[in-house]
C-alpha cells in the first residue's frame, strides 16, 4: 500500500496526463459516434430498406472481439491514436444507432399523425416531436456507448493509443503491480464517473411530464433536476480541470 502511494506521488504527472488523454480520446470517439450514429439512426427509421443492413453491419462489428478488431485495424490504419479512435467509434455505433431507431419508431402513431395533421413539416415533426420524445432512449444508448468506450480505450493502448491502458500494459510487462493499479483504478473510476454523467443526462433530457409516473410531484422533480444540473456543471469543471492540469504539469 505504501509503495503504491509512493508510486502515485512519484508519477502523478504521468497519471494525470494519461487520464486527460484517455478522456480526450474517449470524448472524441463518442462524439464521432454520435455524429455518425444519430443521423444514421434517423435515416434508417425513415428509409426502412436500409434498416436491416445497417443494423446487421453494426451488430457484426459488435460481435467481433475487441482485441481482434484492434488487430484488424493495424494493417489498414497502422498504430497509434487513429486506429484506436476508429475502432472505438465503430464499437459505439450499435447502441447509439439501435436506440435512436427504437426511440424514434416507438413513438405513438397517433401522436405523429396529429403532428402531421395539424401542419408540421416533416422536419418539424422530427425536431419538435420525434427527437424530444426519443431523446431519453437515445441518451441511454449514448451512455452505454460512453462506458464501453472508456473500457475499450484502455485496451486500445495495446496498439499504441495514449491513455490509462498504457500504465496497465507496461505494468504487466515489467511486473509492476503498482503501475498496473495506477492505470486500472483511475480507468475504473472514470468508467463509473462517465456512467453517472450519462445517467444524469438521461434524466435531464426526459421531459418532466414523462417522469411523473412515480407520483412525485412536479416541484420535487424540478428540484432534482436542479441538483442534476449542478452535478453536471461540477463534472464539466472537473474534466476541464484535468485538461488544464495535464497541460500545465
Amino acid at each position: 500500500m505504501k509503495e503504491f502511494i509512493e508510486y502515485i506521488s512519484y508519477s502523478y504527472k504521468l497519471i494525470i496526463d494519461l487520464l486527460a488523454d484517455h478522456l480526450r480520446l474517449t470524448a472524441m470517439s463518442v462524439g464521432l459516434a454520435l455524429l455518425i450514429g444519430i443521423p444514421l439512426g434517423i435515416l434508417i427509421s425513415y428509409v426502412k430498406k436500409l434498416k436491416k443492413p445497417v443494423l446487421g453491419v453494426t451488430n457484426v462489428i459488435q460481435a467481433i472481439p475487441s482485441m481482434a478488431l484492434l488487430g484488424f485495424a493495424i494493417p489498414f490504419l497502422g498504430i497509434g491514436t487513429v486506429p484506436a479512435v476508429t475502432i472505438v467509434v465503430l464499437y459505439s455505433l450499435l447502441p447509439i444507432v439501435k436506440n435512436t431507431v427504437t426511440g424514434i419508431t416507438n413513438i405513438n402513431a397517433e401522436t405523429l399523425e396529429s403532428a402531421k395533421g395539424i401542419g408540421l413539416t416533416r422536419f418539424q415533426v422530427l425536431t419538435k416531436v420525434q427527437i424530444p420524445l426519443a431523446l431519453p432512449v437515445i441518451m441511454a444508448g449514448v451512455r452505454i456507448a460512453a462506458v464501453t468506450s472508456v473500457g475499450l480505450m484502455t485496451i486500445a493502448a495495446y496498439i499504441g493509443a495514449d491513455g490509462l491502458g498504457y500504465l496497465v500494459f507496461s505494468g504487466i510487462r515489467t511486473l509492476n503491480n503498482n503501475q498496473i493499479l495506477a492505470g486500472a483504478i483511475p480507468a475504473c473510476l472514470l468508467a463509473l464517473f462517465v456512467d453517472f454523467i450519462g445517467n444524469t443526462a438521461e434524466k435531464l433530457v426526459t421531459p418532466i411530464s414523462l417522469q411523473t409516473n412515480s407520483k412525485q410531484d412536479k416541484k420535487q422533480i424540478e428540484n432534482k433536476r436542479k441538483n442534476s444540473l449542478i452535478f453536471l456543471g461540477i463534472s464539466i469543471i472537473f474534466i476541464v480541470a484535468i485538461f488544464v492540469l495535464s497541460a500545465f504539469l
Partner: protein
C-alpha cells in the same frame, strides 16, 4: 365551402371509398357516422390530405386541395383526434401555440390568442397553461385539443371521434360546449363518430356511411323520420326520436283533416256534425279560405234552447293555438297550462291546418311503449 366530387379510395385492391360526392356549407357541423370500417375516418383524413384519394377531387371554396400546399392547407384547418393528439412532452401552452409559433406569428398575438382560447374552453390560463397533458383529466386534455384546433382561426375543423374515450358526463358537457363554440364561432366542422346520439345532439347534417358509400345525408330530424332504408333505420334506432322529443314537430302528429263548420251554420247543424263524427268540438272556419275563426264545443251549445242561432255568435274566439313547426314539447307545455282538450294548429295566415287533441297526444306518446307498428 367543402365539396367531395366522385371520390374513390382504394388501399391496394380493397375499395374503401366507393365514389362519394357530397358538399358541406359554410358554418355547418356535419357528422360522418357509420360502423367501423365504413370509410368515415378515411373520408375525414382526405380533407387534410393525410390520405390522398385514388380518384376524384375535393374542393374547398372551389379550389382543388390537391393543388394547394399541403402544409398551409393543414395549418388552416383544425384537427382534433381521440386522446393522444396532444404532445406529451409539451405543456398546455406549448401544445396550443405550436402551429402559430412555427408559422412565425408575432409573440404578442400568439399570447392573446392563447388566453382567448383558454377562455373559450373555460379553463383558467394561470392554473393550466404550464401543466403537461399527463396532469390533466381526459376531458381537460380534449378541451385543450379543441383549443389547439382553433389556434390558427381556421375555417374548417376536422374532428375524429374526439369525445369517444370520455365518460358519459364529461362527453355530454363537451358536446354542449362544442355546440356553444360552434354557434359563436361559425366554423365549418366535420365530425366523425360512431355514436348516433352524439350525432343527433350536435349535427346540422348527418352523413351515414356504409361500405364506403353514403347511404343518407340529411338533417338529424329527417334521418330519424324518414330513414332511407333498413340499415339506416336500424342504425338510427327505431325509437331514437323519443329520446330527442324536441325534434318531433306538431305537424308530424296532428290530425290533418279536422272536422270544421262554417260560421253561418246553425247550432243544430253543429250538434248533428258532432254526433256524426263522435266528437265534442268543431273548428269554425271561413268558407274557402279555411281561416280559423273560433271553436265551438258541445258544452257551449247545451245552454241554448234555440238551436237556430248561428254558430259564430256563441263560438269561443280566444283560443290557444300552435304552429305546425312547433315541437311536441312546447305543445305539451301549452296544454298543461291551458288545460284545453283541443288545440287547433294554424299557419301564419291563421288558416286551420290541423288539430291536436288530448286523446291524439296520448296515442302518439304511447307509441314507443305500446306498439311499434308505426314509426313517425
Amino acid at each position: 365551402m367543402l365539396e367531395f366530387r366522385n371520390i374513390v379510395k382504394k388501399f391496394k385492391e380493397t375499395l374503401v371509398i366507393n365514389d362519394i360526392s357530397f358538399s358541406v356549407k359554410k358554418g355547418e357541423l356535419v357528422v360522418l357516422i357509420g360502423e367501423s370500417g365504413c370509410g368515415k375516418t378515411t373520408t375525414l383524413k382526405m380533407i387534410n390530405r393525410l390520405i390522398d384519394p385514388t380518384s376524384g377531387t375535393i374542393l374547398i371554396n372551389g379550389e382543388d386541395i390537391a393543388k394547394k400546399d399541403v402544409i398551409s392547407l393543414r395549418r388552416n384547418m383544425g384537427y382534433v383526434i381521440q386522446q393522444t393528439g396532444l404532445f406529451p412532452h409539451m405543456s398546455v401552452k406549448e401544445n396550443i401555440e405550436i402551429i402559430p409559433k412555427v408559422s412565425k406569428i408575432n409573440a404578442k398575438k400568439i399570447k392573446d390568442k392563447t388566453l382567448e382560447l383558454m377562455e373559450m374552453i373555460g379553463m383558467n390560463p394561470d392554473e393550466f397553461l404550464e401543466r403537461y397533458p399527463i396532469e390533466l383529466s381526459g376531458g381537460q386534455q380534449q378541451r385543450i385539443g379543441v383549443a389547439r384546433a382553433f389556434a390558427m382561426d381556421p375555417e374548417i375543423i376536422l374532428m375524429d371521434e374526439p369525445f369517444s374515450a370520455l365518460d358519459p358526463i364529461t362527453r355530454a358537457s363537451l358536446q354542449e360546449e362544442l355546440i356553444n363554440i360552434q354557434t359563436h364561432m361559425k366554423k365549418t366542422i366535420i365530425f366523425v363518430t360512431h355514436d348516433m346520439s352524439e350525432a343527433i345532439k350536435i349535427a346540422d347534417r348527418i352523413c351515414i356511411m356504409n361500405n364506403g358509400k353514403i347511404l343518407q345525408y340529411d338533417t338529424p330530424e329527417n334521418i330519424m323520420k324518414n330513414p332511407i332504408n333498413d340499415f339506416v333505420s336500424r342504425f338510427v334506432g327505431k325509437n331514437r326520436i323519443w329520446s330527442s322529443p324536441e325534434l318531433i314537430k306538431v305537424k308530424d302528429i296532428m290530425i290533418e283533416n279536422p272536422v270544421t263548420i262554417p260560421p253561418k251554420a246553425s247550432l243544430f247543424q253543429c250538434m248533428e256534425k258532432m254526433r256524426e263524427h263522435k266528437i265534442d268540438s268543431l273548428m269554425v272556419v271561413e268558407l274557402h279560405t279555411n281561416k280559423l275563426l273560433g271553436i265551438i264545443k258541445a258544452k257551449h251549445i247545451q245552454p241554448y234552447k234555440n238551436r237556430n242561432i248561428e254558430v259564430e255568435k256563441i263560438m269561443k274566439k280566444d283560443f290557444s293555438h300552435a304552429l305546425p313547426e312547433e315541437s311536441i314539447v312546447e305543445v305539451l307545455k301549452l296544454i298543461n297550462k291551458t288545460q284545453e282538450s283541443t288545440l287547433p294548429i294554424i299557419n301564419e295566415k291563421r288558416c286551420l291546418v290541423g288539430l291536436i287533441t288530448k286523446s291524439s297526444l296520448v296515442t302518439t306518446l304511447s307509441q314507443p311503449f305500446v306498439e311499434q307498428k308505426e314509426v313517425i
